[in-house]
């Protein structure tokens, strides 16, 4: 057992942090002006496009955990980047065969189209909660146990709670060209979202801890009151649980373990819970300022809610964990 991060993974983490760090303001910028591709996108597509891509579809032997380490940082810094979504879309296609080099190199940018659009009665297939759709060159469309890449028939932009992750409803032709088996693609993509959520939780905790260390009340830093400190301790615990579940699930999926499916559900459920909880605590610890647009805590809350909703709501994943475990013992 070597359940520790490799030196290479630590280097990936630092490299992504160097690119995405300081871009936090960009998540805020999208509150006032429509999202546009940030400078970091080119660097990320150029440098990290093969992270977590199985060799069977053209990768070079990087495993899924490498990718999750990278996207965790993007969550932590609230990077308003298409990179994690493109990467999730590539993961959707991981059931084979080989994926175009232009996609792996990020010249063709994909977005994942997974969540069903409720109430859809048109012809074709409609997906909702599709991120950065207007800036995607194509989509990885999931339908049942198949997935294919396709252009949209129609894109309807929606008002996203997190404007730095624009969302759209997208329609596709009924039958996809070149469908491939989904295999573990959806599970792998779901973990890309879970890892971002773990990052959002971490970023919110860090911001809150900074406030707790510096804000004075009653002559002391507020972090010296257990009423404040213990909320954040609980957030740390929830975030650690989520991250451990996420990297384990990635290992389980890579190694095709029996319990992989249940762990993917657990990771998405726990990560969504941890991120929303941490963001709410971050607001609370900031007191009055925490409920203003001027302060940053709400940026974490927005990202947390949007990610929790995507690729299956956290609450649905949680119940699925219960269902699978009961089925295993009944």
């Amino acid at each position: 057992m070597h359940a520790t991060f490799t030196e290479e993974q630590r280097e990936v983490e630092q490299a992504v942090r160097d690119i995405a760090g300081g871009e936090n303001g960009a998540a805020r910028a999208a509150l006032d002006a429509p999202w546009s591709p940030p400078a970091m996108d080119a660097e990320l597509f150029g440098g990290f496009g093969v992270l977590g891509v199985p060799e069977s579809i053209g990768g070079v032997g990087s495993d899924l955990v490498d990718l999750l380490v990278a996207v965790e940082v993007l969550g932590e810094t609230l990077a308003p980047s298409r990179f994690p979504w493109h990467a999730a879309a590539v993961q959707l296609l991981s059931g084979g065969p080989v994926v175009d080099d232009a996609i792996l190199g990020g010249e063709v940018v994909l977005a994942p189209a997974v969540d069903a659009r409720p109430g859809w009665t048109g012809t074709g297939i409609a997906r909702s909660l599709v991120p950065y759709a207007a800036h995607a060159d194509a989509f990885a469309v999931v339908d049942g146990d198949r997935v294919w890449s396709a252009s949209a028939v129609a894109v309807r932009e929606r008002e996203s709670f997190d404007p730095s992750v624009p969302l759209a409803d997208v329609e596709f032709a009924e039958a996809g060209a070149d469908p491939r088996p989904l295999a573990r693609g959806l599970e792998r993509a779901t973990l890309v979202v879970a890892a971002q959520l773990c990052g959002v939780a971490q970023g919110a905790i860090d911001l809150a801890a900074g406030q707790a260390r510096t804000r004075q009340q009653f002559g002391k830093a507020i972090g010296s009151f257990q009423g404040v400190a213990f909320q954040l301790a609980e957030a740390v615990t929830a975030r650690k649980a989520a991250w451990d579940l996420t990297i384990y699930a990635a290992w389980a999926v890579e190694n095709d373990r029996d319990d992989a499916t249940s762990h993917v559900h657990a990771a998405k459920a726990a990560a969504g819970k941890a991120a929303v909880f941490a963001a709410e605590r971050c607001i609370q610890v900031h007191g009055g300022m925490g409920i203003t647009m001027a302060a940053d805590p709400h940026l974490y809350l927005r990202r947390a809610f949007v990610l929790d909703a995507m690729l299956g709501r956290g609450s649905v994943h949680r119940r699925e964990v219960g269902r699978l475990r009961v089925a295993a013992r009944a």
């Binding site: 109430g119 909660l129 804000r215 009340q217 404040v228 809610f305 929790d308 609450s315």
Partner: protein, 383 residues
């Protein structure tokens, strides 16, 4: 133990209801409006309250009020809240400024300020909190310097509702920097002509609160309320009125939050889910407990008692149920509630976001728990 209206109360409730039905006939559903439109209706509503002589409902007759009791006020507020009436734009004047001036003001102050509130000509705001003070209100730093005939005041205030509509401010400032932190505070009735008001945008987009910057504000000696150095005591009176007036209809918001949650679940076909029933059962218990606790609090005041520290339990319970009901309503919505242009999704998210403030405003959750620990259980101070 009787939770029902007496025959007199019933009659009064009918009278109020009839008036409200008429007065609200042309008022749109506030939940669907933009903030500026809501503010317009708040002003209209305040004017109608003044015209209808409801503004001084529980003020003594000698000061122009109707001389009715806390229950009458509770009935009025409850019936208004149930009908979704706008928040009156001079709530601070009617509920805080008036009663505090009646309790601590001299005859001249009463004559000078009470009529304006009842007539709707003077709007008030509350200048207590400061950027550095937060839960530790008495650490305020806004400073009043003695000059001939009065005081010159400089500093800044924050979390002021309705500052941009008000012309007068209930202002706390430090008149003696050398005294103990409570003893050095005085309470001013301050004109706002030298206040700069800057709106704070809340996370739900509303501009309900403001920052205020005071630049050589002059207040004459005769507008110190309750005497120089007695500001903390007077402020406690205002805060007690604030808690009392909030508690009168807080429960309606809790009730509405749970009801709206159920409505969205029914609409989405999720209301039969046993996990949902379990969650909503727990929320409903809490919402009803807030309603009943509020009634008991009003009854206590009416029978001469003073609402005790247990009201902190009500506040805490209320904040929790509204926050949790509103979060669940968002999360069970289509698309997890994050598509704000969805049917009703925008207002649902706005309510969820607004509710995050409930554990901060009006005494934070941490302050409420401290009050329960110290004053109900007799535990030592933890701050």
């Amino acid at each position: 133990m009787d939770f029902d209206d007496s025959p007199d109360d019933k009659a009064f409730r009918r009278e109020v209801g009839a008036w409200l039905d008429t007065a609200l006939a042309d008022v749109p559903d506030q939940e669907e409006l933009a903030h500026s439109e809501r503010e317009h209706w708040s002003r209209v509503w305040q004017e109608r309250l003044c015209e209808g002589s409801w503004a001084g409902l529980s003020w003594p007759v000698e000061h122009g009020g109707r001389g009715m009791d806390a229950l009458a006020q509770a009935i009025f507020n409850e019936e208004a809240a149930v009908r979704g009436a706008p928040y009156p734009l001079n709530g601070v004047g009617m509920m805080l400024a008036g009663p505090t001036i009646i309790a601590h003001g001299d005859d001249a102050q009463k004559a000078r300020y009470l009529p304006g509130i009842l007539q709707g000509s003077t709007y008030w705001c509350q200048g207590f909190s400061e950027p550095g003070s937060g839960s530790d209100l008495a650490s305020l730093r806004t400073a009043a310097v003695k000059v001939d005939g009065g005081w010159v005041i400089n500093g800044s205030k924050i979390w002021t509702s309705n500052a941009h509509n008000a012309s007068m401010c209930l202002l706390l400032a430090r008149t003696d920097a050398t005294a103990d932190k409570h003893a050095g505070i005085s309470y001013f009735l301050a004109p706002m002509d030298r206040f700069t008001v800057r709106p704070l945008v809340m996370i739900n987009g509303d501009t309900e609160f403001n920052e205020m910057f005071l630049d050589d504000v002059f207040v004459p000696d005769e507008d110190v309320l309750g005497g120089v150095g007695n500001g903390w005591k007077v402020a406690l009176t205002t805060l007690a009125f604030e808690r009392g007036s909030m508690a009168l209809n807080l429960w309606v918001w809790a009730r509405q939050a749970v009801d709206r949650l159920i409505d969205i679940a029914v609409e989405r076909g999720m209301a039969d889910d046993e996990a949902f029933l379990d969650a909503v059962g727990a929320l409903d218990c809490d919402a009803e407990a807030v309603r009943i606790g509020s009634m008991r609090m009003v009854a206590e005041s009416r029978s001469g008692g003073v609402p005790g520290p247990e009201t902190s339990a009500l506040k805490s319970l209320w904040a929790g149920v509204v926050q949790n009901a509103n979060r669940l309503a968002v999360q069970i919505d289509d698309g997890g509630g994050v598509l704000l242009d969805g049917d009703g999704a925008g207002p649902r998210m706005r309510r969820y976001l607004r509710a995050r403030a409930h554990t901060i405003e009006g005494g934070s959750e941490e302050v409420q728990k401290s009050i329960l620990a110290e004053r109900v259980l007799g535990l030592p101070r933890s701050r």
